[in-house]
């Protein structure tokens, strides 16, 4: 192995790529500026719109209820609702978002309650529309309170304690440390972002150094040098791996900064909420280490595909499906119920995604860590072997 030649190719390719504006955009602008900016913007916009929706007093229509004055009066006195006159086209008004909800009080409601013939109150909403849901919540809360009052009165009349209907309480208590709780949430988002950035970081340089060289005619120039072809391709793989890893790590760091900015601004008021993201530095370090074999795997695979392609366009058409194939396992960490097991630990990308999720939530299963790292090293070695084999095949290099 001639490390000198690998080093020469590496240094040249680094210089060459750093002088390319497109590299700077894909490696620096996208992960450092664009991705965190999108993350902060989306969080800010959603926090703001939720806040605005909460502040709005929803317009609600009451249908019926003329023979139930107490209920009607109770609803009218609610400061959280703005009642509008009843009309027959309430469904259209809800669909057109002119009113947020309608509540139908059946005829003889209060009398039926008194006679213990349970009537049914129906709330009409726009399913999935946030402001409509908030209106429904307020109406439900009102009727729950009335129900509780009726139950209390009945128990009192029967001289029964309230514990008759509530023999015991159930409550949840979180025993996981706040870091683990927030790490669990971060662990659902961050692996996806970092894996995708790791892959996208390798796409442009790999195309440029393979199919791009074929297109520009420099591959033939390079092949006339006495350097061993294995060393040439290893130099190329190494630089693509560097770019991939750099993009992933920069993305990890910049998203970390974005999270801390969000903590200080958006979620500052809810200090004990799980939304207060915090991740242990050791977890981030473990994820960074995991990214190394993944970056080698992506780099060598992309180089092999790029070498096989006749042109940059052809390489892009091969790499786009690769991106989609990566997105699915990368997203696995965000899917509920998908957990790391021995079988998943052997599936590339999926294993890194699930292990990163575990590690970010502070769970360290040593045997899975070894299994995932070792299997990714094997996949990376296979990908390197494929890239070297492609670079030695004249039918691939001179494919026209």
């Amino acid at each position: 192995m001639n490390l000198r030649n690998i080093r020469i190719v590496y240094a040249k390719e680094l210089l060459d790529l750093l002088r390319d504006r497109r590299t700077i955009i894909s490696m620096v602008v996208v992960p450092i500026i664009l991705m965190p900016a999108i993350m902060i913007s989306v969080a800010t916009i959603s926090a703001r719109s939720v806040g605005q929706a909460r502040q709005e007093i929803p317009k609600v229509m009451v249908i019926g209820g003329k023979d139930s004055p107490d209920t009607l009066h109770g609803l009218e006195s609610l400061k959280t609702l703005q009642l509008v006159p009843a009309s027959a086209d309430y469904t259209n008004l809800i669909s057109d978002k002119k009113i947020r909800a309608a509540v139908e009080i059946p005829s003889g409601f209060e009398q039926d309650v008194r006679l213990e013939r349970p009537p049914k109150v129906r709330i009409y909403i726009y399913e999935g529309e946030m402001k409509s849901m908030f209106a429904a919540e307020a109406i439900e809360q009102f009727f729950r309170n009335r129900k509780d009052a009726v139950v209390s009165n009945r128990l009192a009349a029967a001289r029964l304690p309230t514990s008759t209907l509530n023999p015991f309480d159930i409550s949840r208590a979180n025993v996981a440390p706040p870091q683990k709780v927030s790490g669990n949430i971060v662990g659902m988002i961050l692996p996806y972002l970092v894996i995708i950035m790791c892959m996208t970081g390798s796409i442009y340089p790999s195309i440029d150094l393979t199919a791009g060289e074929k297109e520009r005619g420099t591959i033939e120039t390079l092949l006339t040098s006495p350097a061993n072809r294995t060393h040439l391709v290893l130099g190329k793989c190494l630089i693509v791996m560097t770019m991939s890893l750099f993009t992933a790590l920069v993305s990890l760091a910049s998203n970390g900064v974005a999270i801390s900015i969000m903590n200080r601004t958006l979620f500052a008021s809810s200090k004990h909420s799980p939304l207060m993201f915090s991740v242990e530095p050791s977890s981030l370090l473990a994820v960074a280490v995991l990214m190394v074999p993944l970056a080698v795997f992506f780099a060598a695979l992309m180089v092999a595909i790029g070498l096989y392609s006749r042109s940059s366009k052809e390489a892009q058409s091969y790499l786009q499906p690769m991106l989609i194939l990566t997105v699915v396992p990368a997203m696995a960490a965000a899917l509920p119920g998908v957990e790391l097991n021995t079988r998943f630990a052997l599936i590339p990308v999926l294993n890194v995604s699930l292990l990163s999720k575990e590690v970010l939530s502070g769970t360290y299963h040593l045997h899975y860590m070894v299994l995932v790292f070792a299997s990714m090293c094997v996949y990376a070695a296979i990908a390197i072997f494929a890239a070297v084999a492609a670079f030695k095949r004249e039918t691939v290099l001179f494919r026209t």
């Binding site: 030649n5 020469i8 190719v9 040249k12 210089l15 060459d16 002088r19 390319d20 520009r216 005619g217 420099t218 033939e220 120039t221 092949l223 006339t224 040098s225 006495p226 350097a227 061993n228 004249e394 039918t395 001179f398």
Partner: protein
């Protein structure tokens, strides 16, 4: 010295079946002489030169370049050749000096030796003016000079030129022709492929007419004239290629 022995190259082709691009080609190029490979497009010139430069592997036969076998010792062959063609482009984002230096390093040169050789080549070829300019900002003539410097940086014993003047303007083509003559004057073995008759007449000590992957005739221009009874190289070429008596 270049010596080929029944050099054969067959390309697999899914539509047409195996294509015999080079068929049992044998010839010999001496040091200090220019050997011209004359043929139409698709005759097998580029395949032959790519085989000699070890860019391709022969299907049959072999060749010795600068004393090394192209099949057994491809890296040693490449260490002793300079290969120039219009397909050997430059790295646009590197400067002229970086480009030549990169190839010097890949040829095992470093430090003072590389600097000295680089300075000498840039002085000789008049390249100092654009030494630190990026290759993609250079004119065609300047680019060709950088390519020449790239092939000469390791002072190879054998020079392989594959249609090096194709698509170049008159002045740039003249620079290349001067350079090829200079290589001969320095005692290098030069093999040169072209389909431009006038260049062959001007430059070559020996000519091989290649067609359909086979060498149809070989000798000096004078020998070919005597054998054909014709004076003009173009007439000789057409007579040989078309198989007229």
């Amino acid at each position: 010295m270049i010596e080929t022995l029944a050099l054969t190259k067959i390309f697999p082709d899914k539509k047409r079946g195996p294509v015999r691009a080079l068929d049992q080609v044998s010839f010999r190029c001496e040091p200090g002489k220019i050997f011209g490979l004359l043929g139409v497009n698709g005759a097998g010139k580029t395949t032959c030169l790519r085989l000699l430069a070890t860019l391709l592997q022969p299907t049959g036969g072999t060749a010795k370049v600068a004393g090394f076998d192209i099949v057994a010792e491809p890296e040693k062959v490449r260490a002793h050749i300079g290969f120039l063609s219009t397909a050997t482009a430059l790295y646009g984002r590197l400067t002229a000096a970086e480009m030549v230096s990169y190839f010097g390093k890949l040829h095992g040169m470093d430090g003072a030796l590389l600097r000295q050789r680089l300075d000498s080549l840039f002085d000789t070829l008049g390249m100092n003016e654009f030494r630190d300019r990026r290759c993609d900002k250079l004119s065609t003539g300047m680019k060709q000079k950088v390519s020449i410097a790239r092939t000469l940086i390791h002072d190879p014993a054998v020079m392989i030129f594959d249609e090096p003047t194709i698509g170049l303007d008159v002045l740039t083509a003249r620079t290349v022709i001067h350079f090829i003559r200079d290589c001969k004057a320095r005692g290098k073995t030069v093999i040169y492929s072209t389909h431009v008759m006038s260049e062959v007449e001007k430059l070559c000590d020996a000519i091989a007419i290649i067609h359909g992957g086979k060498i149809l005739a070989e000798g000096s221009l004078e020998e070919l004239r005597q054998r054909s009874g014709l004076r003009d190289l173009e007439d000789i070429f057409v007579q040989i290629v078309e198989g007229k008596p």
